[in-house]
């Protein structure tokens, strides 16, 4: 399941909802991304996430399908927030549940790596020196590239 929203989310509630009553999940991996209070050497006061409504949902659904195709997963949840966020705020949540721990860990890592370069979000950081769009980082492309399968190239 995917959700794109401006509201915050409750990680514990989401994990409980996903595991409650299930006796077949062996491993559940999750990742939460949060707003940090600095960028480089500069303090940031807020971060505004812009996104492409319509395309965002499609891309996240595509990522979920890709993960389900590659790994044996019982459940996938991706929540991505947009709008104005402050240091300490949660930005993104990925949870994957599988009978097997490696499948849950790898698929969670895969999803967050691909989100970085394939989810249509752009981040505007407000700092003392003004507002700056966050540049895509080379290291994120490299991390995402690790998951490209030879058959896809």
């Amino acid at each position: 399941m995917i959700r794109v929203q401006d509201e915050d989310f409750d990680i514990g509630a989401e994990i409980t909802r996903m595991t409650e009553g299930s006796t077949e999940i062996g491993g559940l991996a999750s990742f939460v991304g949060l707003v940090r209070d600095y960028a480089g050497d500069e303090q940031i006061s807020s971060m505004t996430l812009e996104h492409y409504p319509g395309m965002t949902e499609k891309q996240l659904e595509r990522l979920e399908s890709e993960a389900r195709e590659r790994w044996d997963l019982q459940d996938v949840l991706i929540i991505h927030r947009y709008g104005k966020l402050y240091p300490g705020d949660r930005i993104v949540l990925v949870i994957t549940a599988s009978p097997h721990r490696q499948a849950s860990l790898e698929s969670c890592h895969f999803l967050i790596d691909w989100l970085k370069t394939k989810a249509p979000f752009w981040k505007l950081e407000e700092k003392e020196s003004g507002a700056d769009w966050v540049d895509a980082r080379e290291t994120d492309s490299v991390a995402a590239g690790r998951w490209v399968r030879v058959s896809d190239t």
């Binding site: 492409y52 319509g54 993104v92 989100l115 394939k118 769009w133 994120d140």
Partner: protein
Amino acid sequence: MQILYFGWVRTRVGHGKEELSPPDDVGTVADLIDWLKGQGDGYAHAFENAAAIRAAVNQEIAPHDAEIADGDEVALFPPMTGG
């Protein structure tokens, strides 16, 4: 043709969305970027480095040589920074 801008492309152009009718010889994303560059100072600034621009056609990631036609929704933006 519906055109959308995001990130610093949007702030340089000055707005996020517009309906435009590029001339007939604009047949690809690359042609569109090239044509937009001539539409004013903001556009010139936004599209000065075409290689930095990513595109989506009808909400699907598309390369610069992707064909575009009347009625398409074309989005132009910097590399995505999700997550």
